[in-house]
Symmetry: C2
Subunit: 127 residues, 2 copies
DNA sequence: CTCTTTGTACGAATATCTTCGTAAACGAAT
DNA sequence: ATTCGTTTACGAAGATATTCGTACAAAGAG
């Protein structure tokens, strides 16, 4: 069995940026992070170094300014976090989670349509 | 603005049990917790005392054996955890989260139907 | 070359979470 | 009343996460 990826809160914020932007320098990450919350530069640096030790990111250290990249798959990580949440907080009922998510995070009609299509496809495959 | 409820991993496990069972003693909680993971009795006790300090649970200490009850709303907590997750891990797209959740946590046809109904209702209300 | 800026490395302080041992209080049973 | 099992209270150790100061290296400007 694969060991679950378990980034901390702060690490997750950085991963999210890396997934979004692709390979980035510490400064680039830091600049974006700063818009979301207060953070010192060396704090961000240290975090990313630790993430490197843990294998959450890879880095290219060939130039003076290192370049970091996410080393864990986005969807896989999302899935693991979700499953854990479904188990502990939603008594194993994914549909409850889904309705909770839709009910309070106003989604556009287009998004709702996408979900509907997705539901239909799932049902077909199940037969 | 309301301060977000931010239980730790362990606290969440206990809250889930309290939500499910209603008011309970430490021993009752502990017995259930033990089925899920290894834990010493005093560890569970201490956790619940801390949760009481934090205001996550209330307790009736009139008898020798105290009785605890969840002090935070289940749905509100679920919502806050979900919203945070949507923001950081899913770029603010609830539908992406929904599809991830449905795709990998096998749901019964009944559940899928419930969600479909829910979608329809939402669409009506939006007009 | 010297000075300034930008970057990494490292260590340490702080905070938070988790776990558990020990002691004291209480009630029930003998 | 003494003993035994159950429960709470407390404190402290251990683990993990977060933050930042300082030192040093490298590159560019003058």
């Amino acid at each position: 069995m694969n060991k679950p990826i378990k980034p901390t809160e702060s690490e997750l914020e950085i991963l999210a940026i890396l997934w979004e932007r692709g390979a980035s320098t510490v400064r680039e990450i830091h600049e974006i992070l700063e818009q979301q919350k207060e953070a010192g530069y060396t704090t961000t640096l240290k975090l990313m170094q630790i993430m490197h030790e843990k294998g959450l990111v890879t880095r290219d250290a060939s130039a003076k300014t290192h370049i970091y990249e996410a080393a864990v798959d986005r969807e896989l990580t999302q899935r693991q976090l979700l499953n854990k949440m479904i188990d502990t907080v939603f008594k194993g009922s994914a549909s409850q989670l889904v309705m909770q998510a839709l009910g309070h995070h106003r989604s556009s009609p287009e998004e709702l349509d996408m979900i509907r299509q997705y539901l239909n496809e799932m049902e077909k495959k199940q037969k």
